[in-house]
Symmetry: C2
Subunit: 273 residues, 2 copies
């Protein structure tokens, strides 16, 4: 399967999982606010990396989609809170009114809180998983909490809103941490060696920073403001090279082809943007 077909499959599976995991409930307005961004598309990059991680180490794809969807809940909570007036104050997302514009600020705060909590509800529900031990599931939860919280995303958000740290540092925490957790949590669903986990963790970080560099290039902000167009392309190239080198060190070429393609896919997005 090539990357394009793979990403399409992951999107379909995540859409299915969302409906399966989050069934209609009362109050309806909370359910709708939680689903508002989730069902609005998105590239499902994080679940795709979870699926790739599981593929590399022999995890069950269904378990990878469950974990990937939980991570997608966390990603979407962060988008909702990010858009709030006290944060980025964005009235629109993907051409539609942002969550607080559509549902009110109170509901947007609570829908974000609910999605974050629900992610950990899913990750602690052993009955939702096919082939993961309780010990392993705890480790998955713990990794995701660390990389979504004070060692990762929330830390990066604070650095961003308070202008602390350089673009690479901010990207490492704000964006790359959860992307790293996506890839590594997928790998934890199979039988990875500690060496593989270490490499995948580094790969996830490089890919995550690359992802932010490309985004900044396309939006002409962050890295772009500091390094300019050519400098930003060079930074992207550097992180891509580091990621590709680390992928080769995994020494599982038939298992890591998609991950390699994904690195080129990000670079191409920039070239074409």
């Amino acid at each position: 399967m090539n990357l394009e077909a793979f990403l399409r499959t992951v999107s379909q599976q995540v859409d299915r999982k969302i409906d399966e995991l989050l069934k209609p409930f009362e109050p309806k307005v909370l359910y709708e606010a939680m689903l508002y961004y989730l069902k609005g598309g998105g590239k499902r990059i994080r679940p795709a990396l979870t699926a790739m991680g599981a593929f590399i180490t022999g995890g069950h794809p269904e378990d990878a989609f469950t974990v990937g969807t939980a991570i997608e809940f966390i990603h979407n909570y962060s988008l909702i809170h990010d858009d709030l007036p006290a944060m980025d104050d964005d009235d629109f997302r993907r051409g539609k009114p942002s969550c607080h514009k559509a549902f009110g600020e109170d509901l947007a705060i609570l829908a974000g809180d609910a999605l974050l909590t629900y992610a950990f509800q899913v990750l602690s529900d052993a009955s939702l998983f096919k082939k993961v031990s309780a010990e392993r599931l705890l480790r998955v939860s713990n990794l995701i909490a660390r990389k979504a919280g004070i060692e990762g995303m929330v830390k990066g958000q604070v650095m961003d809103v308070r202008k602390l740290g350089d673009p690479e540092e901010v990207a490492r925490y704000k964006t790359a941490a959860l992307i790293e957790a996506s890839l590594v949590s997928g790998a934890l669903l199979g039988s990875p060696t500690e060496r593989e986990l270490e490499l995948l963790s580094k790969i996830g970080e490089k890919v995550g920073i690359l992802f932010q560099v490309v985004d900044d290039y396309l939006d002409k902000e962050g890295f772009y403001e500091v390094f300019g167009p050519e400098g930003t392309k060079e930074v992207a190239q550097t992180f891509a090279s580091m990621a590709l080198q680390l992928i080769r060190e995994l020494n599982k070429p038939e298992k890591t082809k998609l991950l390699e393609e994904f690195v080129y896919f990000l670079l191409k997005r920039m070239e074409e943007g």
Copy 2:
């Protein structure tokens, strides 16, 4: 030990646990915003119930303080988000500027997010526990996520801000759910029977509603506005009686003495208020 001495001990243990679990980190402003309400006192009712639950079923007290402190993180995140301008818009809490007044709205949103995420980081870290299996720890996490999220606290908050449901329904979700989870998660740390868990779950719910009724009586809102002073006292008496009856059904008088005392303590708070 009588209830007063017990509550004092729990407070000390929770203060110690907070320092143990949440060590200074960068950015300092996030660490400080997370600690701001946590270190500002509070009655530590929830950890006390977790400790009582563990005492009833033979769980390790140290494990109960760890789980209770994680629940306290969740309780404090909910206070921070509750106080926000888009929610209750409270400028003060316990006589001090509220979190968003002291740190800004952006930091208050993020400190709440961080506390919620950190609670689940603690609950998924097996190395922090002395005597709990991975399976049991997952069950504790799952219960707390359910009762803090769309089946409990967040659901209740939405009902409250959107004026859905009567005071009892709102109290059941907004307040009682997490109080119930506190007691039951403590019980899960020992060797409870399913029947005991069922009874403790009901007891936690009654005690939680009683707690809200008493609070409303003292603040002259919620139940008080609907039932008036005498009616509210009757409602409190009803929930207290139901809780005491259920406690007797546990049939462990020497183990449930503190829990019984706690019910009388809540009633007395109202009488003296």
